[in-house]
């Protein structure tokens, strides 16, 4: 059996069937049946939407597959439709890089703000450098103007933040940005974008500050007492 003809992918939104355009419907149907025979129990009792991609199906073919899955896997199918969200990100490194670079706001955004995956970057992020991560990011160093840090979680800079920073990049407004010196070119949290005023203030030394979103506005606060 050719493993590549059909593959199942379970996502938070439901089940995705990934098929190939060159295979005909009968072959695909056959393989779905076989695959469900071996792994169908997994979905037993579940209730979800089924999406498919890789091949265009007619409404009759969609229906046939829906009936097949609900019978074999004993699950309730809420609907079947073509998946038009994004094309396979992992198959194409170029597009997956793009996806991180300009993340889309998602309903199911990164939630590990307190305890989640964290990337530590040692060294200064210079102009033209992009540090992006699906999780929290800690920069042990400065972020210079022209440098970018994009994280789906919090961003903490153990140095001066003078570049562009985007925390909660896939939609989490609870995300924060903290730095020993917070003077970003532009600061974004989820879909809220701010920039500092055009009048430049000259600041001496480090003033540790924290940026967060409240009522769709970015607030900046010191996170250490004034006297230190």
């Amino acid at each position: 059996m050719d493993e590549n003809i059909i593959s199942f992918k379970a996502t938070v939104n439901g089940l995705i069937l990934i098929m190939r355009d060159e295979d005909d419907f009968e072959t695909i149907y056959e393989h779905i049946a076989q695959k469900l025979e071996s792994s169908g129990r997994f979905f037993k009792g579940a209730s979800m939407t089924v999406k498919y991609r890789g091949k265009k199906l007619t409404p009759e073919q969609e229906q046939k597959i829906a009936v097949l899955i609900s019978k074999k896997a004993k699950m309730e199918i809420k609907g079947i439709e073509e998946d038009v969200s994004v094309s396979e990100p992992e198959s194409d490194p170029e597009s997956s890089q793009k996806a991180v670079n300009k993340p889309k706001m998602k309903l199911l955004f990164f939630k590990g703000l307190e305890e989640g995956l964290t990337k530590f970057h040692k060294g200064t992020v210079r102009s033209g450098r992009l540090i992006s991560f699906d999780g929290n990011v800690v920069i042990i160093g400065d972020v210079n103007p022209g440098g970018e840090v994009i994280a789906t979680g919090n961003v903490v800079v153990m140095g001066s933040l003078r570049g562009m920073v985007h925390a909660g990049a896939d939609g989490n407004k609870e995300a924060i940005v903290a730095a020993l010196s917070l003077q970003p070119t532009q600061l974004r949290i989820a879909d809220v974008i701010t920039r500092p005023p055009d009048t430049k203030e000259d600041r001496q030394g480090f003033i540790p500050e924290l940026a967060f979103v409240k009522d769709d506005l970015v607030y900046i606060d010191r996170f250490l007492p004034q006297h230190m």
Partner: protein, 266 residues
């Protein structure tokens, strides 16, 4: 229908970005609708010179990749009406865009704006090819240095090979006192080599450094010699006949200019 003008030089550091910012501002002051396009992907500067860096949300690469509409990426200038900037991406490289995409973009911008000024990166590789792809006219910048003139000559050749006829020459950072002493190439020396039409000569001016650091174009500075030169260039671009500043005799404008610049008028 607008016009796409590419500002290029071959050599780096001769003032392409400063010139783009100043000519663009000048055209906008003259009531034209202007878009400045930064094609120096990965080493963008035009946004900094214009003082618009912190307003960037989308950039040139996002536009050509279809991630956003052109309108969304255009940044409205904070001082001048009718002036817009399309910034380059900083965390990508020149290969993110190809000449066909640039051509399409220029066509689209031409529909709505009077002048599209394309700030070209240094070099003659992909970035240069992208920058000239959609251009109708070219301005070649050089400084009175042998190396810059050599590179400008190469650029003129490449422009002609790409069907961009009649590029105009802009000589930047001219120091009349040094030319007089015979320490610097004169305007005639440069034109002898390049054999293209002159559009203007911009004197070396300390105020450029100040204005660049502040993010404010110098063209609006009445006291600046460079500002005056840029104002004349803008009028020439618009098709007016403006006499060149006199460089040979000491009568007239140059003497005033030198006094303004604090140089000794000999």
């Amino acid at each position: 229908m607008g016009e796409v003008i590419v500002i290029t030089s071959g050599k780096g550091g001769v003032g392409k970005t400063t010139t783009t910012a100043n000519i663009g501002t000048g055209l906008a002051l003259a009531g034209q609708k202007v878009v400045l396009v930064d094609t120096d992907i990965g080493l963008r500067n035009l946004d900094v010179v214009m003082g618009l860096e912190n307003r960037i949300v989308y950039d040139l690469v996002d536009v050509v990749e279809g991630f956003c509409r052109v309108k969304q990426a255009l940044i409205k200038d904070k001082r001048y009406e009718g002036l817009y900037l399309l910034p380059a991406a900083q965390t990508r490289d020149k290969t993110s865009v190809n000449p066909q995409q640039m051509m399409k973009l220029c066509q689209e911008l031409k529909e709505e704006y009077d002048y599209i000024l394309v700030d070209c990166p240094a070099g003659i590789e992909q970035g240069f090819k992208n920058a000239i792809a959609g251009a109708d006219r070219a301005i070649v910048i050089t400084t009175p240095e042998v190396s810059a003139v050599r590179d400008a000559d190469r650029i003129v050749g490449l422009l002609e090979a790409n069907e961009l006829r009649n590029p105009k020459l802009l000589i930047n950072r001219m120091r009349i006192d040094m030319v007089k002493r015979g320490d610097m190439m004169s305007i005639d020396d440069i034109i002898d080599i390049l054999a293209i039409g002159l559009i203007g000569v911009v004197p070396d001016d300390e105020r450029i450094v100040v204005s660049t650091n502040r993010g404010e174009p110098v063209i609006n500075d009445e006291k600046s010699g460079a500002g005056q030169a840029y104002r004349n260039i803008v009028r020439r671009i618009k098709g007016e006949e403006v006499p060149f500043m006199s460089f040979d005799n000491d009568q007239g404008f140059m003497i005033k200019l030198k006094k303004l610049l604090g140089l000794k008028a000999d």
